[in-house]
């Protein structure tokens, strides 16, 4: 076979989005969606590791039943910092702003997003928000939990609330601008032949995510503004002493923050759809169902916020309605899982790192989703509310789901972004490490929660210690699993082989462009003349060629 012949040195001097201008100014003032995507990638990766520091301390504290590493007050600030950083500054922006920014215009054959300047502005808003949150951290942090429940957050908490609230407010507008940009780009910037029915599933999921970003984030913004005003002026909007209603705060907060869960998970579902098809070498099963289940999740996601308030004094009938609606979300989610499974079925699987992450995602997301149904059931929720069962459930979705997809996606598109491969052996090793570390960390927490260990408390009953030690042990494995990719991916920038345009043999417009792509994404304006994931025809085509040879 001629493929073993050493490839001639690729013309590295070919101009691409990285080497056309090396100056610092050309980066910090860049309107190029690819550069902004890379800037986001670096920023959110930094914030991810920042957000894991308090998690390390939390796990160390929970090794023993008594609060002997940190005081209870510090513990409150630690889990708040972990939650705020991870939710608002990592999970919500993670895939859309990094991979989404880089790939969405390329996948639809556009030269850039519709509003490149707004894209850059959204990056700096995000940075400003993150800095404000850090200012709050330096000033002692916040001890309310990431949910800022009133009246504790407005009246009693004497922590650095103001910079924290402003930081999240500002970062929220960054999300809104990103979402708005994506919606407009998908509507107006598609290349000739890229009909809606041919959009890659990643684009569909980005579109659904953007709908939520644009419609839910403003409600969080106004709610935080009300909390800040209440914090400064104490007029009692959320304070029962003066006639206010704390439950109103919870309604407004969860009207954003439940859809925000889908902001975190929908993009990862998009990534998984890409990974599963590429590495099954097969047309995706049920394209239309996967595409529209994203939209269905986005719509249903707006109708279920009340399931966070089953025990908050919400009316019983409201609880019943929210419970039923929450069960409905399982339908489009399950459609996706079944379709991925059917795509894998009888596929020609190539077990590379991205597919390992995708397989991990499918398993962990299924566990996370099914335990979500336990929590959506009114009676069960009363029992496990505010216990580690809830913690385990949403970590299965957010770490087992979003984080796995994020890592899988970064590996998959790494050759496109940087032009270099990643070391496959290390990739497989760390993917396996993440999977086992994750399960060892969070599976015991399901049991702990079911046995009644409550969340957000620094000390616990000694009978829970064994499972907590297991969980901490798992967390250290998970930590190594997260650090390894950071090391070998940076290493690969210099020492790994050059990837070539399409190392995975994937369909999709982004692979038709050189790696790394040129400044305007494509050397010739692309056109599309077939459905997405057309692996079957391509295989037939190649086989036909072989026969002729």
């Amino acid at each position: 076979m001629s493929e073993n012949i050493v490839q001639p040195e690729l013309p590295l001097q070919r101009l691409n989005y990285i080497n056309h201008d090396w100056s610092v100014w050309s980066w910090i003032n860049s309107r190029d969606h690819k550069r902004i995507g890379v800037m986001y990638l670096l920023t959110i990766t930094f914030l991810f590791f920042l957000g894991s520091l308090p998690a390390i301390l939390i796990r160390l504290e929970l090794l023993t039943p008594a609060p002997n590493l940190v005081t209870r007050e510090i513990y409150n600030r630690l889990f708040t910092m972990h939650g705020v950083t991870m939710v608002f500054f990592f999970l919500v922006p993670s895939i859309p702003t990094s991979l989404g920014n880089f790939l969405l215009p390329m996948m639809i054959g556009a030269r850039d997003l519709a509003f490149p300047r707004m894209n850059l502005a959204s990056y700096y808003l995000f940075l400003a928000g993150a800095i404000l949150a850090l200012v709050s951290l330096v000033n002692g942090g916040v001890d309310t939990g990431w949910t800022f429940y009133t009246p504790y957050s407005t009246t009693f908490s004497n922590s650095a609330m103001t910079p924290m609230i402003l930081g999240i407010f500002v970062a929220g507008f960054s999300s809104i601008f990103t979402g708005l940009n994506f919606i407009v780009t998908v509507h107006t910037m598609r290349c000739p032949g890229m009909y809606w029915s041919r959009l890659p599933l990643f684009v569909w999921s980005m579109y659904a995510t953007s709908l939520i970003l644009v419609l839910a984030t403003p409600v969080l913004a106004i709610t935080l503004l009300l909390v800040a005003a209440e914090h400064w002026f104490q007029v009692g909007i959320f304070d029962p002493k003066l006639g206010g209603d704390p439950l109103l705060y919870q309604h407004l907060f969860w009207f954003y923050s439940h859809p925000a869960v889908y902001i975190m998970i929908l993009p990862s579902m998009g990534v998984i759809s890409e990974l599963v098809t590429t590495f099954s070498r097969k047309h995706v099963f049920g394209y239309t169902f996967i595409a529209f289940s994203s939209i269905a999740i986005a719509v249903l996601g707006f109708l279920v916020w009340g399931h966070h308030m089953f025990v908050s004094g919400q009316s019983m009938y409201a609880g019943m309605v929210f419970s039923v609606l929450s069960f409905l979300v399982a339908v489009p989610s399950a459609i996706k899982v079944f379709n991925w499974t059917m795509t894998l079925h009888k596929g020609s699987l190539v077990l590379k790192t991205p597919l390992l992450y995708a397989l991990g995602f499918i398993g962990l997301f299924t566990i996370g989703g099914l335990t979500g149904l336990f929590l959506a059931a009114l009676a069960v929720d009363v029992h496990v509310h505010d216990t580690y069962f809830v913690i385990a459930h949403f970590h299965y979705i957010m770490v087992g789901g979003t984080m796995m997809a994020y890592l899988g996606g970064v590996h998959y598109w790494w050759p496109k972004i940087t032009g270099r491969m990643y070391p496959e052996g290390w990739g497989v090793f760390s993917a396996v490490l993440v999977f086992f570390g994750f399960n060892l960390t969070f599976f015991p927490q399901f049991i702990l929660g079911y046995m009644g260990m409550v969340r957000r408390v620094a000390d616990y009953d000694p009978q829970f210690q064994v499972l907590n030690v297991l969980s901490t042990a798992g967390a250290s494995i998970l930590g190594v699993g997260f650090l390894l990719p950071l090391c070998y991916l940076l290493w690969s920038l210099r020492y790994e082989p050059i990837a070539g345009d399409n190392p995975w043999g994937a369909t999709g417009l982004e692979w038709k462009s050189p790696s790394p792509p040129p400044e305007l994404n494509f050397e010739t304006p692309p056109t599309v003349d077939g459905p997405a994931y057309d692996y079957d025809t391509e295989t037939i085509h190649q086989e036909g060629k072989k026969k002729h040879v």
Partner: protein
């Protein structure tokens, strides 16, 4: 650079502005929901609060704002049809002037409120009120909503003045037609927000 032609650019700008306005609706929607819930719960106190306001000032201001929207509509019309730069500039300046009038009137109103001791938390003297706490909540919403609205107006006036200044450039009408149109959408939206705020706040009594 990112667009193929002017038509695509116009389409993108229009969709972007409408999506932004959808965001704005939910932004105001959150706090309006709170207002409606408390108004329903504390009907008397909110009515009492409404009586403390000056409906005729509010009415006059509504008229000023509607006139400014008319001027804006004329600017958009001019940009879309004949595109005479001087006419566009004049209509835009008129819009900004009327908008500024609205804000000045609002400032006078706030001053009166201050003298009457109706500023929650900062200068609150509820001696003559029968439900001081709940009425304070009404006034909190009153200031929160109207200040939020005024911030949107100020931002709008700023952009209007910038665009009016840009009309001096000879290539304006062909290039910036879309900008004037989008500005019009935004300005009308801010106007509509006031159309909701005015009856909710001033006419509840």
């Amino acid at each position: 650079m990112q667009f193929d032609d002017a038509e695509q650019q116009h389409e993108a700008a229009a969709l972007g502005m409408w999506a932004f306005l959808a965001t704005e609706i939910l932004f105001f929607g959150g706090v309006l929901t709170g207002f409606v819930i408390y108004r329903h719960r504390y009907l008397e106190a909110f009515a009492e609060g409404g009586k403390e306001l000056w409906p005729w000032i509010g009415t006059a201001n509504t008229a000023v704002l509607l006139l400014s929207s008319f001027a804006m509509a004329m600017a958009v019309h001019e940009a879309e049809t004949q595109g005479r730069r001087k006419h566009i500039a004049r209509y835009l300046l008129l819009t900004a002037l009327l908008g500024a009038t609205f804000i000045c009137v609002k400032a006078v109103e706030y001053t009166i409120d201050w003298h009457e001791g109706l500023i929650p938390s900062l200068n609150w003297h509820p001696e003559h009120l029968s439900h001081p706490d709940q009425t304070q909540m009404f006034f909190f919403f009153y200031f929160f909503l109207t200040i939020l609205h005024a911030i949107h107006m100020t931002a709008g006036i700023g952009v209007i003045l910038i665009v009016a200044w840009q009309t001096r450039r000879p290539d304006f009408s062909s290039e910036k037609k879309t900008t004037v149109e989008m500005l019009g959408l935004y300005w009308h939206f801010v106007d509509v927000v006031w159309i909701f705020l005015f009856p909710l706040l001033y006419l509840t009594a």
